[in-house]
Structure formats: C-alpha cells, structure tokens
C-alpha cells in the first residue's frame, strides 16, 4: 500500500472495498478511483487507443487522458469513465479497456511494431487495394480495432431528471476565485448559483498546502461553504459540471445525484440536466497543467506535478513505493518546485529537480539542496525509460546525457487557463504574450474569466478577481455592499517560459495521449501541407478525443508554430465544443424516452375502449382504438370484418373525437369561410352542415372537412385528425395577417367536445332509445342537418353527417362527459346489438364509399384529381383559386381518383403499388399511377382499392396491371368508380 500514515481529506474511519479488473482492493471515503488505485500501488490502468501502449494515471482531474475505465457492470456499465472523476463507493467495480486478453498482456500491442505505418493519416493512404477486400476484410478489421470501451447493449435502467435555474450571477467553479465571487455577490443580495463539479468546494485549495490569512486554506473554504449554505439567495450545486454555454445567456449543466452510490435510491433520478439562465457569469474554472513533450512521456509513472501534489495532499496517496521509490521532478516553471517540496515533506526520496530555466526558484532551491536533492538548471529530460518507469535520461546545460534511476517522474509544462466554455459561442481564444497562454476574448460582457481561468494564477489574484468582478456585477444592479478587507494570500505568479517540447529524444514522444498523436505526426502533417490548426487537428486527430485536447492542444499547436516558423499567437488554437466534459445521452433525454418520448393524447372514450377490448394505434400523438377484439376472435381481419358488416347492416359506434374542431364567430365569419374554402359557406342555412374543401395557396388540396352553421354569426368546422393544427394555423394566419380588418374570432374546440359516430341502418333507433329531448325523425333532422339539445344537464349536439355512407349521426357532448355519453349510447343500443368499431373498420367503410382521406390528401393532389372539381366556386375568390387554375394542375392526363377491383377477388392490392396498362413493361415511362388506399371489403367479398390513374374516370371498365415488385406478383384489376357501395347515396337519406 502506498498511503501516507496521516493527512489528506479522506475519512479513514470509513474503509471501502472495491475491485479493479477483478482484483479486490481497499480505499476510503473521500478517495477517487484513481487515488485509491494509486494508494494500492496499481500503476497500469489502460492501453492507449492506437498503439496499445501501457498507460497509468497521469493527472488528478477531469482532464485525464489515460485512465479511462469501464465503471460498473451489466446495464449500468459505463465505458470511458475517467478514474480521476469517479468517487469511490463500497462495492465499486471497474475494468480496464482496450486490451485483450489482459491489461498486462495485450495482443494488440503488436500495433507498436507497425507504428511506422500507423502514422497520422495512414487510413487515407491504405486499405485501398485490392478493392474487393474493403467490405469483407479491411472494414470489419478496422471496426473491430476501432473505438474505446464497449457499451453494455442493455437499456439504461436509470431515470434522469431536469431542472431550470435562474440567477443574477452564475459562478462556474468553486475554487478560491469562485468562492470569493459567490460570497461577495451573495452578501450583496444577488441571486447566485455556484456550480462545482467536484464533490466538495475548494478547487486547488484541496490539493495545495496554501494559507489564507495565515490559516490553512481549508478552514477558509469550510467557512465560505457554511456562509453560502446559510444565504437563501445562493444555490450551491456540487457534483455539477457546466458543460456548455449557449445563446441567450443559457448554460447546460449536469448534476450527478447518485453516481457515487451503487445505484440510485428508489424513485430518484441518477443525474439531472440543468438549464440555467444567468444574467452574468463568471468562469472560475481554473487552469490545467500541461505536460512536456519528450520521449516516453506517456509511460506509467510519468505524472503531472500538480497531480502528484494532489494525491499526496488531498488523498494521502503516494504514486510510488514510499520506502524504496525515487522521484524526479521535471519542470519548466515554478509549480514543479512546490511538488518537489510536497514529496520531501511526505518523506519521499527526490533524486533530482530538473528545471529548463537557466536561473530560478532561489528559496525552494536552497531548501531542497539542503536535503540532498540534486538540482539541474538549464537541463531537460529527453526520455522516460521502462514499460513501467525505471529511469529518465537527462541532458544537462552543457549538453551531456546521463541516466537517473526513477520510479516517478513529475512533470510541469506550465499552465493553460481552462476556458473551453468561453469558446462555445464561437469566440476563439486569444494569445496573451505576457501570460504566455491562450485566454478568453474578454469582449463578451456576460461571461468573464477570473483567477487562473484568466491567467492570473496566484491565490491572491484568485481571491481578488472573484471579489472585484462580483462587486462590479452587484454595482450594476445597484446593490453595493460594504468593502471587505483583502485576504492575505500568496502572490507568486506561475507563468512558464515557452519550452513545450524537448528536441533530440530517442523514444516516441506523445502530444495527444488519448489519441496517440506524437510529435512526428505534427511534423508529418506540416510536411504534407496541413498547416492550419484546423487541418492539423483533423489530419492527426490532435484534440479530437473526448478530452478535446485539454492536455495536448497547446503543445501540439506550439510544435506546429515552431515547424512553420510562426509564433504561437499567430498560429492560434481551436475552439472547444459542447459538451466540455463527456455527458451521458440519457441525461439529455431525461424522462422523454420510449413511450414517453412524446406526449400521448387520449380521447374521452379511451378508458371505455380499453375496458372493452380495444387495441390501440397511434394517430399522430393520439391513441385511437383500432378494433375491438371479441372473445374467440383470433385474427384482426375477422374482427374488422365483423365491425364493417355490423355498420352496414345494424348500428355501430365509433369514437371520432380526434377530428379537429374549430368554432368561428363574428359578423364577418361567413366572409372568412368563403375565402378559406373552395366552395361557398356563406349560403349555408342555420342548422345545416356542408362538406368543405380547403386548398393551399399553391392550389393543391390542404384538407377536407365539414362546416355547420350554428347561428348567423357562428360556424362549427371539422378537419381531419392529422391536419387539425395545420388548419387552425391557416385560419389564424388568414384572420390575423391576411385580413385583419375582418371582425371574426376563431377558437380550437377539439378538446372541448367528445364526438361519437353512430352509423348504420338502425342508427335512428338507437337515438330514439336515448330518449333525447329532440325530434330525430328524418323530417326534423334530414341528411346534413344539425341540432342542439340538453342531455343530463349538458349540451348535446347532433350532426347528421356520414363518413361510412350509412344512415349516421355524429353525437357530441362536452369532453368531461364523454365517457358517460359513450356508455349511454352503448347502453341505448344494447338491444340493437350496437357494435363499437375502430379506425380500421372506419377506414374500410370510407374506402368502400370512395371518400378521400390522408392517403389521397397527400399534398400533391388537386380538387380535380379527387373528383371534387365541381366544388371549386367560380363566383367568389378563395385561397388557392388562381394557382389551382394553372395549366399543369388542370391537365387532362393527371392521375385521377378511381376504384380498383382485382379480377380474382382474392388477389390482394396493396397501397403503393403502381399501375401499368396491360402489355406494357413496368417501367417509369409506362407508369400510369399508383394505389393510394386498399382494403378487404366484406361487403363486396373482394379486395378493393382507391387509386390515382391517368385519365382514370374515362377508363372505367378497362383492365389495368397492378405492379408491386416489393411485395408480390403483378395482378390484374378492373378500373371502377371509386364509390363501390351505394353510388346513388340512398342509404344516407331517409
């Protein structure tokens, strides 16, 4: 075990058991998986993406590129999870990835032998010959080799939630800058949201041994946390990572509610997606330490210096054997020195500190030299050696090479402000020569970087920045507050001089660890002409892994700059893209998955239908009863046939509540309707209904429905289910935009009324049995008449309209009485053996009658095509009239509506099949139309269909070939009228 006997922020009274690759290990509450692995002496945690090189833990934060593990098992297994961000819990199980058969012995490491062939862009130049090998050999091989980690393939068993946050100030990051800002703003009375992705506040103060006001910084953090918790106007969200900045001052964040537990408590979500709208935002996300590019810099045992300090100080975990291990520190700036001091304080032997600067760090240097640490200045590490680090090769200031035995190499290549979020709205980072770093373009008024995120790395600046910016924001809002005294804290700067890569190393030097991009790949890209940062990114894949180059972009772009003889400022860098950290897709979906993907609309008759054996089908968002299976019926066609026959010979009841309903009121209502419909509505008498067709502005049919005149200035419209919203929009556009001078109002009533069709020869007898306070005789209520009465204290409307072609009524009551009305109708019809019927039978009935529906009203048919040309009024203007008269829309050879009956009644005709004259080859040239709707007609004992056929109405009686290559052999059919049953319409009347 490599755990220090005391110290750290772990809770040694809470030991935790966990396993990694099957090995049972122990840690403590407060550990991450990474710190626990380090404390257990586990050095090897994965294999790199391309070359399958052995890799260890390199960092202590979310920027980790190497320690990608699969967390959990079964359906909860989550691949590519960074061990540094996983909170350890009892029973945690994790496995390494990208290796077979084991981490120690990985067959794919053979890739390293082929390394010269696998350089950047190799796939553009290989796998091309022989061509036939691509699909069968190369592609399957590449697919198997590609990717990192594997999905379980099981559905995600967890629930995800959403929440919305609103604030005057969003502080992203709970380190010293963020805490200082949140305190200042909170005390001033602003609404503050503070988001910290770690489990506790403190940021860098958790990893460094700093003081504030001469006290350990942790005390200040604890006080700050307590004060923030006490302020009602401040919301602190821990385990919450802000992943994206969006337009409208909106930010996306993910709160991990139970990833630190084996599974979420019953009824609780696993993670929550926050949409936060913030008037102002402060980016207090700190800075990320960068590696240096030298040979073997990816070896297990090579770690960022600040990470070594974090493991020692926060987790009391030692990344080498504390008794026999030797550490070497390689730094290009001051921060490596504090790691050397942390190692010495922990009792670890520090063999040497190698600083690339010729002159530096007087205080640290003397302290360390006193305890026997060798100091080399103006020197560099050229190679790290050993598949697990054993030694480092160094070059001193005189250019001489030597070897130092080492088990841990702590490297510090300087710091890069973590400003990814700042780039999400398209602003490229700008190079600051003074800070030697890319910083945020500070033009954005709503998003400001503070502290290390702004390149001001000292603790003192972090505290001051947070306070200053929060004060400025409070002043903007007129909420000033008494100035607090400035806290005393360390003021040193940590800016590093620009040495990012070491020349003349002998082994492979890595730039991007996650994608295995080496310095040679960058050179190759330049050689091949890819010289912009964007091209280098895509050609070499630098920065394209899930870490988006957090520890590789700067070094890669610096190498590019050097190769091009440009400055880093001139070279620029790439934009980070949301999500800044990987997030689960489940959290974006939230509860809207599978059956909850969209809302479900249920009709007033739904519960009754469910209780009476209905199967349901989707009609847009609605659930509609498809048919009502009776005991003993085994095939749906038997059920549907029974329902159709019942309507044609007895009486049936169908829930048609989904049809759109719109009430139009006002002195100019009739005028508006005349302009909307192709036929005339102003001549409709009160208490009468009329079939209506609406055209689009381009002359094609938009929808059909009915219009009923309730009073002189009141009309009631129905539309098809699918077009209800579209027609309402159409009416509103006409009313509000095209003719705002008309005095007319329109309101959707689809939800207000439950409507049931009562259809069949016995329909009137059913209504008689309802004993309504209304005369429903043919004389009082003829075909196309409407009436209103009261039933059980509520309004009841009757419309004598028929979609089935039988004697029929549409009976409407308020939707909240819908179930009662349906029940009453069924009770009233019991002695008549009333049959509930669903949309399948409804469809058969209307096809038998040649009524156009969705398949015919497909947006490409005109009124003439559908045989409705006579409805187009010549006496008044209406929407679509002029365009409908265009020659192509009135051409005589357009496909027009006909009926089809197969010569052999048992031959099925299917919608979508195409029509060809007999004796002609079935080619596009000879295509004369297609089948739009088809059904088995129990009334005619034959398959029937509606179709659009060139010059159809003139070809009744002719034979036609129905060509359906996808589903069956060609069949021969006869062209008929589209109205198969009761063409005179006598069953409608009387």
């Amino acid at each position: 075990m490599s755990r220090l006997p005391q110290g750290g922020l772990i809770d040694r009274s809470q030991p935790l058991d966990f396993s990694f690759d099957g090995a049972k290990l122990c840690g403590f509450a407060g550990d991450t998986l990474a710190s626990a692995l380090i404390a257990n002496g586990v050095a090897l945690v994965g294999r790199s993406f391309k070359y399958h090189r052995p890799r260890g833990i390199m960092t202590a934060g979310p920027e980790e590129p190497n320690a990608l593990v699969t967390l959990g098992e079964g359906a909860r297994a989550e691949p590519n999870t960074r061990a540094t961000t996983i909170e350890l819990f009892d029973g945690l199980s994790a496995t390494s990835q990208n290796r077979w058969p084991s981490l120690k012995f990985d067959v794919m490491a053979i890739n390293q032998v082929f390394a010269p062939l696998l350089v950047a862009g190799f796939y553009y130049k290989t796998f091309m010959w022989p061509e036939r090998f691509w699909e069968r050999v190369y592609e399957p091989l590449i697919r198997r080799a590609a990717g990192l980690g594997a999905l379980s393939g099981d559905p995600d068993p967890d629930a995800y939630d959403r929440d919305h946050g609103f604030c005057d100030l969003l502080v992203i990051g709970g380190g010293p800058a963020g805490l200082s800002a949140a305190l200042t703003a909170g005390r001033a009375g602003l609404r503050v949201i503070l988001a910290e992705e770690d489990v506790r506040l403190g940021g860098r103060l958790l990893s460094e041994q700093e003081t504030i006001d001469d006290q350990p910084a942790q005390l200040w953090v604890d006080d700050a946390a307590a004060e923030l918790a006490s302020l009602a106007n401040v919301r602190v969200l821990v385990r919450t990572s802000v992943f994206g900045a969006y337009d409208g001052r909106t930010y996306g964040a993910v709160e991990k509610l139970s990833d630190h537990l084996p599974s979420p408590p019953q009824g609780q979500p696993r993670q929550r997606f926050w949409k936060i709208v913030a008037q102002r935002t402060l980016l207090a996300t700190g800075a990320i330490e960068q590696p240096v590019v030298f040979g073997g810099n990816d070896r297990p045992g090579v770690m960022l210096a600040s990470a070594v300090s974090t493991y020692l100080n926060r987790f009391a975990a030692v990344p080498l054997d504390p008794r026999t291990g030797r550490a070497v520190v390689f730094t290009t700036g001051d921060s490596g020195w504090s790691t050397a001091e942390d190692l010495v304080k922990a009792g670890i032997e520090v063999a040497a500190v190698i600083d690339t600067r010729p002159e530096c760090g007087a205080l640290s240097r003397d302290r360390l030299a006193k305890v026997g640490v060798r100091i080399l200045q103006g020197a560099a590490v050229t190679d790290a050696l050993g598949s697990r680090l054993k030694a480092v090769r160094i070059r001193d200031s005189a250019g001489r090479d030597s070897l130092i035995r080492a088990d841990l190499l702590a490297i510090s290549g300087g710091w890069a402000p973590s400003i990814g979020l700042g780039a999400h709205l398209g602003r490229k980072p700008v190079w600051s020569q003074g800070l030697q770093a890319f910083v945020m373009d500070q033009d954005a008024a709503n998003l400001t970087a503070v502290g290390s995120a702004a390149g001001r790395y000292s603790l003192r600046h972090a505290l001051l920045d947070g306070q200053r910016e929060a004060t400025r924001i409070a002043d903007e809002r007129g909420l000033s507050q008494p100035a607090r005294r400035t806290l005393r804290a360390e003021a040193e700067q940590l800016a590093a001089p620009p040495i990012r890569a070491v020349e003349r190393h002998r082994t492979k030097a890595f730039v991007d660890f996650q994608n295995d991009v080496t310095d040679k790949d960058i050179a190759l890209a330049v050689q091949e002409g890819f010289t912009s940062v964007e091209h280098v990114k895509r050609y070499t894949t630098l920065g394209m892994a899930t870490d988006q180059g957090k520890t590789s972009n700067i070094n890669g772009h610096a190498l590019l700059a050097t190769a091009m003889g440009r400055s880093l400022g001139e070279t620029g860098t790439i934009l980070s893209r949301p999500p800044h950290q990987p997030i689960s897709i489940g959290v974006l979906a939230g509860p809207h998955r599978e059956s909850h993907f969209r809302p479900t609309r249920r009709t007033p008759g739904h519960a009754w239908a469910q209780a009476n054996g209905a199967s349901f089908v989707d009609a847009g968002l609605w659930k509609r009863a498809q048919w009502f299976l009776r005991p003993g019926e085994t095939h749906w066609l038997d059920t549907v046939n029974r329902e159709v026959v019942a309507v044609r010979t007895g009486v049936g009841v169908c829930d048609v509540s989904t049809l759109g309903k719109i009430e139009v009121q006002g002195p100019d209502a009739a005028i508006l309707l005349d302009r909307l419909y192709a036929n005339t509505m102003s001549t409709l008498a009160v208490g009468r209904c009329r079939y209506g067709v609406m055209l689009r502005e381009d002359g094609f049919v938009m929808d059909d429905g009915t219009v009923t005149r309730l009073s002189e200035h009141q009309f009631f419209l129905t539309t098809t289910t699918a077009n209800a919203a579209r027609v309402m929009q159409h009416i509103e556009y006409a009313r509000q935009v095209q003719w705002p001078d008309l005095d007319v109002s329109a309101c959707s009533q689809t939800e207000q009324w439950a409507t049931f069709a009562v259809a069949g020869p016995k329909a009137r007898r059913l209504l008689d049995a309802m004993t309504l306070d209304l005369d429903v005789s043919d004389a009082a209520l003829p075909y196309l008449a409407a009436a209103e009465t009261r039933w059980r204290g509520h309004a009841l409307r009757l419309f004598r309209l028929s979609f089935s072609g039988e004697l029929a009524y549409e009976v409407s009551g308020p939707a909240d009485q819908g179930e009662a009305l349906l029940t009453a109708l069924v009770d009233a019809g019991r002695e008549l053996e009333v049959t509930p019927y669903g949309v399948e039978a409804l469809s058969v009935l209307r096809i038998e009658k040649g009524h156009a529906a969705g398949a015919e009203l497909n947006g490409r048919t005109t009124a003439h095509d559908l045989g409705l040309g006579k409805l187009l009024s010549k006496a008044k203007p209406f929407i679509g009239r002029e365009m409908a008269a265009r020659p192509p829309l009135t051409a005589s050879d357009r496909p027009r509506l006909v009926g089809l009956m197969p010569i052999r009644p048992s031959d099925p005709i299917r919608s979508g099949a195409h029509l060809v004259a007999p004796g002609f080859a079935p080619t596009a040239q000879n295509d004369e139309g297609h089948v739009t709707s088809a059904a088995w007609s129990p009334t005619l004992n034959s398959h029937i269909a509606l179709a659009l056929l060139v010059r159809g109405p003139e070809r009744h009686g002719e034979r036609i070939v129905v060509h359906d290559p996808l589903r069956g052999a060609d069949i021969e059919a006869k062209v008929t009228s589209a109205v198969f049953v009761d063409p005179e319409g006598s069953r409608l009347r009387g």
Binding site: P269, P599, E751, P814
Partner: protein
Amino acid sequence: MAKAVQITALTGLRVATIMARRGVVARQVGAALGLAAPSRPGRVTNDGLALIATAPGAWLAIAESDGAGAWPADLADRLGDAAAVFDQSGAYCVFRLEGPAARQMLQRGIAIDLDPAAFGPNDTVVSSLAHLDVIVWQSGGEDSFDVAVFRSYADDFLAWAERVAATFD
C-alpha cells in the same frame, strides 16, 4: 409525514375562452365583467370569476360551478359585442399542486423563472412543461399552484407530476 406536494384534480370548474373583437381593448372587456382584464401574463379575480390573459386580446375565464346561470351564455350576455366567447369547460383539466415543494416541482418542468421575486401571486405562466402546453397560476397561498392542461394530455401530466413529486419525498 406530510407529502412534499399534494396533487388534486379540481372538478366542476366552468371555463371559457374570451376573444376581444376587432377594435376592442382589454379595458372594455374588463369593464363588461367588472374587473381589470390583464393585458400581460396575469390573473385578475372578482366575485368568483377569474380572468387569465393567455394571448393579446384573449383570456381564459374560470368560475366555480356552483354559481347559478348558464355558462357561457351569461358571460356572452355581459360581454355583448365586446368579445366572442367559446365554452372550454370540457377542454381543460385543472390540477392543484400544494405543498412546500410545489414551486420547486413546477420549476423542474417549466423553463420560466418561478422564483417568488419573478412569479408573484397575480402572475401567470403560459408555457410548456415536459412537452405539454400548460397555464399556471398561484391559487391563494405561496405554496399552492393551479395548472391547466388540455384534457387529452391530463394522464401524461399526472404521470409527470406524480413521478417528480415522489423525488421530493
């Protein structure tokens, strides 16, 4: 232990949509009904009748059903030529959410600020909640909210409400 949020379906409400006719302003509509008709998202009540602005020149009128008279004929009579009236008593289901977590729970579903500073006792929200169109107002008391949703979506709303309310318990 009391539940964090209590969800009740209100019954027996009378609801109607009122649309001002051309040239008629909110003040005239309000005068006909004896209250100040709101012309921004808001709710005004008088003598058992509540008026909620839902769009320019459009309101939802809600009354308790034990009030005598025909609905919405009486409303139409009072408004006369000022506005068109459409019965919506069957169209909406109204749910009451009560309890210390009611506001927080609604905030989970609605992307509009519901903090007391931004959403006061007379304010209304016409927005979407879990892909459902809703109208929300406070119903007397800081912890009590009414949510009106179209009847066809009522089951979905209830499912959302019960699931989210449970996360507070």
